[in-house]
Symmetry: C2
Subunit: 354 residues, 2 copies
């Protein structure tokens, strides 16, 4: 028997979730020698991704939404990079690197009906790109940036792109793709360090939304108005962008983190501007655009390898730090993409070559 | 000299405009025998269109918007059907019926630089369709319905379409095109008479928003949710539709009349649903879609002639009733498309055959 620590969803929060109340770390064990059912695969978790959208899954299961509610008393789950420890499924062999949705536990037995959604990504073994990047810039958040900006932002060279939560998992990539496409790129973030980082990775302008008001910032940094807004924040930020938007501006709604943990949503009063300026406001979920996945992986891998794109992560060490890592994301205390490293990949190479 | 009564924009209103204060009827005269400048055309107004968007033009000229502000002290203007009384422009001959933007006066001299925007529409002489229809269902409001529903609503057979202000100039056509395209069509209006009319012209469901709350109505009349919302109203109605919208719903924003005459816009609090449901909210101005004009005129003319579409108008008689007609539109006191009949066309045929 070996240790198999899990992160359990214990209770629906009304505002911010708390450790020990809504999320509980539970120490458990697993027998790695036991037989596994036909079609199943036993995974060891290497890295897991905590993302803002997970707050939406911490709801009462009776409420419908785009992503299923976490069942109470069960491990949370999300995007992971794992390595195959045991396989009774011909799609997987021991030592394969696997990307997909799996439980937040050190080991996870995936039954046949879910194994089909997992992807072998052995190219991560020799790409020179850190494994954690495969749940970030090369995973769901990266594809979110790519799909949102290109498919829904419909960028035209010379336009002004504004990105909120710009140093986050999605935002930093949106801005850098924007630069590659010839846009004037402006971002906001919640600390001077983050603002400095945005300028370092090529943003034309950046401001700290906690110390500079939006209107002042937009007048200075977006003198030609805003053509594309990559929306991660919602509330007053959305309202102020609408006021500063150009005719035909596209507002691509990826998330609205300011509205996730409140019982008192911000009241937006200027929606008449949607008519006056022919605005297009579009929410999207990355999983509805699978047709873009191949282009996304090819282009972004290449941009990383060519050094055209930088990517900052905050890595929490150990699965027991998952709840705090998620809370940090929801409160904006992380810097860059927040991931949790659960185990080293080196250790996992052995079965592959044995 | 003959009488030439004009409707003057006198002062910017803060809420609803009033007769005598913001709009003034001014009696004037014109010499129809006088020479007119090279390239110009002298029009006699037959019918003029008063529409909700005009409230947006009654603003301080320093504020930018999609449609130019009315200059203070000058005649208001808008879409008209007119007949050519005198022409010094080869595009027009005496007796031609003309559609376009012209001043709200009994006679108007249009200089060369604006005459280019006017269109000869002599087909109105023998189409069997009333001349007032050419500033309504066959004019800007009709094309607004057609472009909004088809281009931005992207209707798919079997979907649910909900139209607010559904008995109005635009709404009644939107709903009837929706039926032709195989949609489940529901509308709201502000009186039981209007609701009865909507059912009469083929709406599957209709409710009086003053006596039935939106949620109750949507549950009953849109049991499969709302896929397309043709937005004419804004405010709480928009908020309630967002709550009841299906995934991938399109909200086509044509106008938001509830927000035009208030200093205290309604605060919308559920925009997070844009992300949760991948909503598409799109404002539009009909003049940005000229590529659809030929299809629109051909199809809608045919639908009217085949009796597939009915069209209700409220006709105010006499140019001096223009201010009240516009106020009626803004307050929802009209029923169907509000037009002002300024002169009979019969009288105008004489020059043509003389």
């Amino acid at each position: 028997m070996v240790s198999n620590t899990k992160v359990i969803f214990a209770k629906v929060p009304t505002t911010y979730p708390e450790i020990g109340e809504h999320m509980i770390v539970q120490k458990d064990e697993i027998d790695l020698e036991a037989e596994i059912p036909q079609g199943s695969v036993l995974l060891k978790t290497l890295a897991l991704s905590v993302d803002p959208y997970m707050r939406g899954r911490m709801r009462d299961a009776s409420k419908q939404s785009y992503s299923p509610a976490f069942p109470i008393g069960q491990p949370m789950n999300g995007h992971t990079m794992t390595v195959v420890v045991k396989s009774n499924n011909e799609k997987f062999k021991v030592g394969d690197l696997v990307y997909g949705m799996s439980p937040f536990s050190e080991y996870a037995l995936i039954p046949e009906q879910f194994a089909g959604y997992l992807e072998v990504r052995n190219e991560a073994k020799d790409s020179g790109i850190p494994i954690t990047n495969y749940i970030g810039i090369l995973g769901m958040p990266g594809m979110t940036a790519y799909v949102g900006l290109i498919k829904f932002g419909k960028p035209k060279k010379g336009e002004t792109l504004y990105v909120s939560a710009a140093s986050g998992a999605v935002g930093q990539l949106v801005g850098q793709i924007g630069k590659i496409l010839g846009l004037h790129v402006v971002g906001s973030a919640g600390s001077d360090d983050k603002v400095a980082y945005l300028k370092e990775i090529g943003f034309d302008g950046a401001f700290n939304y906690k110390t500079t008001d939006n209107e002042t910032a937009f007048k200075e940094l977006c003198p030609n108005g805003i053509d594309i807004y990559f929306e991660n924040v919602g509330g007053k930020m959305l309202e102020d962008v609408i006021t500063h938007a150009n005719k035909f501006a596209r507002i691509v709604c990826c998330g609205m983190i300011s509205q996730y943990n409140t019982q008192d949503p911000y009241p937006v009063r200027n929606l008449l501007q949607i008519v006056a300026k022919s605005l297009e406001i579009r929410g999207f979920i990355v999983s509805d655009s699978p047709e873009m996945q191949d282009d996304f992986r090819r282009e972004v891998t290449q941009w990383i390898q060519e050094g055209k794109i930088k990517y900052r992560e905050t890595v929490a060490e150990g699965i027991e730090n998952t709840p705090q890592a998620l809370i940090d994301v929801l409160r904006g205390n992380n810097f860059g993409k927040q991931v949790v490293k659960v185990a080293e990949f080196e250790l996992q190479k052995k079965p592959h070559f044995s």
